[in-house]
């Protein structure tokens, strides 16, 4: 019969009477776990932010009509030459429209799909920004601004003005921060825009947009869909791009493939477009775990050492316990408890310190041109990492305690008593 409470009490007494050694051992664990929690919170916070920077505003599926040559040339349909080696020189892209064919029907179809969270149509127009005699190459996207806000956090990138102001003003425009700087324009100013044919439109600046990617901000502006359709001189069924957001991101590749084959369009999914982000995230996580495990390994060796010493000191106690009826297993448990108590106390303390430092980091100012909406360091306060931290502490101390405890189990009391 094993009397757990009694063994635990003996373990506790041993630890408390050697509070200095126990504290040093626990501090090793604390240090390892705190570092793990801080690193992983900061790293995943950073990952989340970087993902947000690109992934949150990237549609899960982007549908448009790409200009490209036909894959099958007329000669491929000619059966008599099927088995010959055919060469066609100077293939040109097929004459076709830039807009998505029958876009409204396609949007309706997508909105009915249960996997789809939302669909936003866009109209892209090639334009020139005019300021006095200078012309600036640019691009205006017509958007349903309020849908873009709900689905793609569009408002995160409006540094002046608001999305609502654009929604209310059919003559309004959200101008890219780079364009604004070059043309020295600000909110409330008017900007002249000319389309490719040279027709000039006057639009009022209701906000400034900054994505953090300079190349993008130097050319990009946003207006309402109707405005851009007017600039292009097209009707209300002219849609150049359709952005789809799904409930489950992982379904994107398969769905994009189906849409492509069913509707004869180009559909790019998020994973194909941003494969390198996944890789970066994984490598950062790997580094975090590697560093933390190394620290815990060092702490584990510390505990192993201290317990080994303790067992030499406690030879007499082990002999008495065994002589008075405690089995080897009981003695092993006593020392295992000591190791795991060190792990528990060290781990909980480490998680606490890790949380404290994470809070401090999350309040540290961090301002950069590239990230307009972020003013402090991003930190992820996910509870899972705190649970993993304590579990790590218990597992590493379990293994550090196991070998010394096994040794204590095997000590022969007769050797000790005889040796006196």
């Amino acid at each position: 019969m094993t009397n757990w409470g009694l063994l635990l009490k003996i373990a506790k007494t041993h630890l408390i009477t050697r509070i200095k050694q126990s504290s040093v051992a626990a501090l090793g664990v604390t240090f390892g776990i705190a570092t793990f929690v801080i690193l992983i919170s900061f790293m995943t916070g950073l990952n989340g932010m970087l993902d947000g920077l690109i992934l949150n505003r990237t549609p899960h599926i982007h549908i448009y009509n790409d200009i490209k040559p036909s894959e099958d040339q007329p000669i491929d349909y000619f059966d008599e030459l099927k088995n010959s080696f055919n060469v066609v020189n100077s293939i040109k892209p097929k004459q076709s429209q830039v807009r998505v064919h029958n876009a409204k029907a396609l949007i309706n179809f997508l909105e009915k799909d249960k996997r789809v969270k939302g669909v936003t149509p866009q109209v892209a127009a090639q334009v020139f920004y005019l300021a006095g005699s200078s012309q600036l190459n640019g691009r205006v996207n017509g958007i349903n601004v309020l849908d873009e806000v709900t689905l793609f956090n569009f408002d995160n990138y409006i540094v002046k003005g608001s999305a609502e102001a654009l929604a209310k003003n059919s003559e309004g425009i959200l101008i890219g921060s780079g364009v604004a700087a070059k043309l020295s324009l600000d909110i409330g100013d008017k900007v002249q825009i000319s389309n490719i044919n040279g027709t000039i439109y006057n639009l009022k600046i209701v906000g400034i947009y900054q994505s953090g990617l300079a190349d993008y901000d130097n050319i990009q502006s946003f207006a309402n869909i109707k405005t851009v359709q007017r600039i292009l001189g097209e009707g209300s069924n002219y849609i150049s791009d359709i952005n789809v957001k799904l409930h489950d991101l992982s379904l994107a590749p398969a769905m994009a493939k189906r849409l492509e084959s069913e509707f004869d369009l180009t559909a790019i999914d998020i994973e194909t477009a941003n494969a390198q982000f996944e890789t970066g995230t994984n490598i950062r996580n790997l580094i975090t775990y590697a560093v933390s495990i190394t620290l815990l390994l060092v702490a584990g060796f510390g505990i192993y050492n201290i317990l080994n010493m303790l067992i030499y000191e406690k030879m007499n106690d082990i002999a008495i316990l065994k002589a008075t009826g405690f089995s080897g297993n009981d003695v092993k448990l006593i020392f295992m408890f000591q190791a795991m108590l060190i792990g528990l106390v060290g781990g909980v303390l480490g998680v606490g310190i890790g949380y404290g430092v994470s809070v401090i980091i999350s309040h540290t100012p961090f301002e950069t041109e590239a990230l307009p909406t972020i003013d402090t360091f991003p930190v992820n306060f996910n509870g899972t990492y705190y649970v993993i931290g304590v579990a790590f502490a218990l597992i590493s101390t379990f293994f550090a305690g196991y070998l010394p405890a096994k040794k204590a189990q095997k000590i022969d009391p007769v050797d000790i008593i005889r040796g006196q």
Partner: protein, 227 residues
């Protein structure tokens, strides 16, 4: 009279560099309520015999019987339970757990046994300590107690589970004359008044002379058994 402890043809070999026979065909019995001492010069095998009888050393030939139950060949786990329940120990160096209080030291084997509630055990432990006149030390830490008192506390600990037999390895060997006599009278009283069996290893002739029966050993053999 009923035999409490029986040793039958015990042989013990040490196999270090060369084979050395420490015990040669040792057989004897201890009866209920008997106070037996084993005498002999150092190296005669008396301590070795005691460790075998105490079940702590299992590497021997022959048979050991306690309360009509054969103990030879049992697992270490089972023997630990037997020690806890039936055998009380007193060592020469009054081994107590130094970080625990006197009371906790006495209570420990009973808590391990786990039959009684904590209150009952505490009550019993205090009774025994009072009987041995060390109850005033009950709450002191064991490391801070004098040698003579420590040995009395060790005796109290050996009594806590109402053992079948108490074994002592030079229980007075490390004590001055006064304390030594004190401990002896306690043991004698336990044997006669409580009908408890005692088996004590000693090289102290005066001590042995006062016991009920003396077994003398030499070179691993029983030289004389004062039956």
């Amino acid at each position: 009279m009923k035999h409490v402890l029986q040793a039958r043809n015990i042989n013990k070999f040490f196999r270090d560099a060369e084979v050395f026979q420490a015990l040669k065909d040792v057989s004897f019995n201890v009866d209920k309520g008997e106070f037996v001492s084993i005498m002999g010069k150092s190296g005669c095998g008396k301590s070795t015999l005691l460790y075998i009888l105490s079940t702590m050393d299992t590497n021997y030939e022959g048979e050991l019987v306690l309360n009509d139950k054969v103990l030879t060949g049992r697992s270490a786990q089972e023997l630990a339970v037997v020690r806890n329940e039936h055998i009380g120990f007193i060592f020469q160096f009054h081994y107590l757990l130094p970080e625990f209080s006197v009371l906790e030291n006495v209570m420990l084997p009973a808590k391990k046994f786990g039959l009684k509630s904590k209150q009952e055990i505490e009550h019993d432990a205090m009774e025994i300590l009072r009987r041995l006149d060390v109850h005033e030390q009950a709450l002191k830490v064991a490391a801070k107690i004098s040698g003579g008192q420590k040995q009395r506390i060790a005796i109290a600990r050996s009594l806590i589970n109402n053992p079948t037999i108490i074994m002592g390895d030079e229980p007075t060997g490390n004590l001055d004359t006064k304390n030594s006599e004190n401990v002896f009278s306690i043991l004698k009283e336990l044997s006669h008044e409580n009908n408890l069996s005692l088996l004590v290893v000693t090289h102290d002739t005066d001590f042995a002379a006062k016991t009920d029966r003396i077994i003398t050993m030499e070179d691993g053999k029983i030289l004389s058994d004062g039956l």
